[in-house]
Amino acid sequence: MEFLTPLSEGLGTVLSQPTALLLILVGVIVGFTFGATPGLTATMGVALFIPLTFPLPGEIAISMMIGLYCGSMAGGAIPAILLNIPGTPSAVVTTLDGHPMARSGQAVRAYGWALIASVVGGLIAWFALVTIAPALARLALRLGPAEYAAIAFLGMTIIASIVPGQLVKGTLAAIIGVGLSVVGLDQITGQGRWTFDTLPLMRGINIMPALIGLLVIPELLSSIFQRQVQAQVRVTLRGMFPNLPELMGQSVNMLRSALIGVAIGIVPALGGSVGSLIAYDQAKRFARDKHMYGKGAPGGVVASEAANNGVTGGALIPLLTLGIPGDTVTAMLLGGLMIHGVQPGPRLFDTSGELVWMILASTLLATVAILIVGIIGFRFFVKVLDVPRHVLVPALFVLAVVGTYSLANQWFDVLVMLVLGTFGFCASLARIPVYPMVIGVILGPLLESEMRRALVISGGDWSTFVTRPVSATILAVALAALLMPLLFSWREKHLPRRKELNNNFTEQK
C-alpha cells in the first residue's frame, strides 16, 4: 500500500484546484456526448479537444482528457440500449441484452445497470492501475536497450497479428507506420531521410497530425454512412438503480468482468470490444439465468460495461509505464501528453512522479464523476442522439482541421493530416487496418533508437537480442504472436479434412 501517500498527495492537489475538478467534469460530459453519439468515438473526442487544452497547465489538461476517455466508454451504452446501435465499438456487446431490455420497457433500468457496472469496472481498473503501474515502471527501469527494442517489436507484432486472417495486411500497415516515423533527420548521424532537402520534412512527421489523419478522418468519413435513428423513449429516472440484493447478485459478475477488461486492456490493440465479448461469454457461462442472455438479462449489460470500462484502466498501464498505447484512445492520449511536455515511459514515475499521481487521482475522480454525470445528464445525452448528422460531421471536420493547425501553427501539419486521412480512408476501403500504422508511427522511433543503442553496446553483435534472457523471452512471445494466427489458420483448413479422413477410415473398418 505504498501508493497511498503519493496518491493522497495527488488527490489533495486535484481537490484543491476547482478548475481541475470542473475540467474533469467537462471532460466526462464531453466524453459522454461523444460516446452517446453513434459514429463519434473517444479517439475523435480526445483528438479534437487536445487543442482546447493548450492554455491549461499540463496536469489539468491531461486530467480533462482522461475524463473524456472514461466518459466516452460509459456513454457508449446509451445508444446501445435505446437504439441497438453501439455508441462506441466497445459497447457492441451491450446491445445484446441492453436493447431487448429497452424493448420490454426496461430501458432506464438497463441504463442504470450499465452506469453502475461502468463505475465499478472503472474503479477496479483504477485500483489495478495504481497498484500495477508503479511496480511495472520500477521493473522496466532495469531493462536495457535490447529489452526496450524487443518490447517495441512485441507491441508491433501483437497489433499486426490481431486482425483475424489479415496478418499480411496488419504487418504491412505497421511497416508503413514505421516508414512514416523514419522521415526527418536521423537522430544519431543527422543525415536526412526522405527529406528531399525541404525544411518541413527535415522536422519529420509529427505524431498528432499523423494520428488525426489516420484515425479521425477515416472515422469521420465512415460516420457519414451510418444510419441515423431517432430515439423514441420515455425518459424518466424512476427505477433506474437496482436494489441491494440485485446488486449483490451481480457483484461477482462485475468483479470478474472488470478484471477481464483490465487484463485485455494491458495487451495492446485488443480493446474494449474484445474485453466485453470475453466477459459476456464468461458471465453467461456462470449465470443461473443463462437462457435469458441475449433476451434481456441484466447480467449481460453488467458484464459488457464493467469490462469495457475495465479496459480503460488496463490500457493506461502500458501507456504510463512503457510508453506503449493500449488502444487508439491511449495513442491519442500519448500525443496529448507529449504536447504538454510529458514523455510516458518507465522514467515517468521518477521524473514526474507528482504529475503521474495527479493523473491517477484524476482518473479516480473521473470514474466517480461518471455516476453523477450519467444520472443528471441522461435526458441531455438522449437528446444528443437527435443532432442531425449532416451538421455534426462537417463541424467535426472543421474542428479536426483547426485542431491540427493549432498544434504548431504549421500548414505542413494540416497537409500531412489531409494526405494521411486520404490514405487512411483508401486503406480502410482495401481492408488494411489503420491502427497498426499508428502504432508503427509511435513505436518506430523507439524500436530503431533502442536497437541501435543495443548494437553499439554489444559492438555490433546481433546475438545480444537472444542471449539476454528478458529480451529473448519477449522476442519469443513476439514470434509466437506472429506465428499463432498462421497456425490457427492452418489448423482450420486441415483439421476438418483430417476429421473427414478419420471418419471415412472408421466407416471402412
Binding site: 487543442p51 482546447l52 493548450f54 492554455p55 499480411v168 495486411k169 504487418t171 504491412l172 511497416i175 508503413i176 514505421v178 516508414g179 523514419v182 548521424t189 543525415q191 531521410r193 526522405w194 528531399f196 468519413l221 465512415s222 457519414i224 454512412f225 451510418q226 444510419r227 441515423q228 442531425p388 448528422r389 449532416h390 451538421v391 460531421v393 462537417p394 463541424a395 471536420f397 472543421v398 482541421v401 483547426v402 493547425y405 493549432s406 501553427n409 500548414w411 497537409l415 489531409l418 486521412g421 486520404t422 480512408f425 483508401c426 486503406a427 476501403l429 482495401a430 481492408r431 488494411i432 518506430g444 530503431e448 536497437m451 541501435r452 548494437l455 553499439v456 559492438g459 555490433g460 553483435d461
Partner: protein
C-alpha cells in the same frame, strides 16, 4: 469495391516505395562496427512494403477467386460501395479546396463555405427543402464564427 481499392492501393504503394527506394539506398545501412546506420530502416521499409503490398493483393485475389459467384462481403458501411466512394472522395476534395481557400479568404469565410457545402452535400433527401438548407447554412456560419472567436481570442491561436 474492396478488391478494386486493394489493387489501387497496392499499385500506389509499390510505385511510391519505388520512388522512395532511390533516396533510401543512397544512405549507408551498416556502420564500421557492424551496427545499424541511418539507411537500414528506410531500406527495410521499402523492401518490406513492396513484398507485403503484393502479398496482400495476392491474398485478396485468391479470396476473390475462391468466393467467385458468392456475394462479396461489404459489411463495414451502411451504404452502397458507389455512394461510399463518391461521397468519401467528394468530402476529401471539399476538404482540400477548403485548405487552399483558407489563406486566401480568411478562416471564417473559407470554413463557413466548406461547412455549409458539406452540410448541403450530406443533407438527407427528406430535408432537402429551402428551410432545411437555410438551417444548415446558418448553423455552419454560426459554428465557424464561434470556433474562430474561441481559437483567436481564448486560445490565442492565430487563425488567419
Amino acid at each position: 469495391m474492396q478488391f478494386v481499392t486493394s489493387f489501387l492501393v497496392t499499385i500506389f504503394l509499390v510505385v511510391f516505395a519505388g520512388f522512395l527506394a532511390g533516396p533510401a539506398f543512397t544512405l549507408p545501412a551498416y556502420d564500421a562496427q557492424g551496427g545499424v546506420a541511418a539507411g537500414a530502416l528506410p531500406q527495410f521499409v521499402v523492401v518490406a512494403v513492396v513484398i507485403l503490398a503484393i502479398g496482400s493483393f495476392v491474398a485478396d485475389l485468391r479470396r476473390r477467386v475462391r468466393s467467385e459467384g458468392e456475394a462479396e462481403a461489404e459489411v463495414h458501411f451502411d451504404a452502397s460501395p458507389t455512394r461510399v466512394v463518391t461521397i468519401g472522395f467528394a468530402v476529401l476534395a471539399l476538404l482540400a479546396v477548403f485548405l487552399v481557400a483558407w489563406p486566401r479568404l480568411s478562416f471564417p469565410v473559407a470554413a463557413s463555405i466548406f461547412m455549409a457545402a458539406l452540410s448541403l452535400l450530406l443533407l438527407p433527401a427528406e430535408q432537402r427543402t429551402v428551410r432545411g438548407a437555410l438551417v444548415a447554412v446558418v448553423a455552419s456560419i454560426a459554428f465557424c464564427i464561434g470556433v474562430w472567436l474561441a481559437f483567436v481570442h481564448l486560445l490565442a491561436v492565430p487563425l488567419r
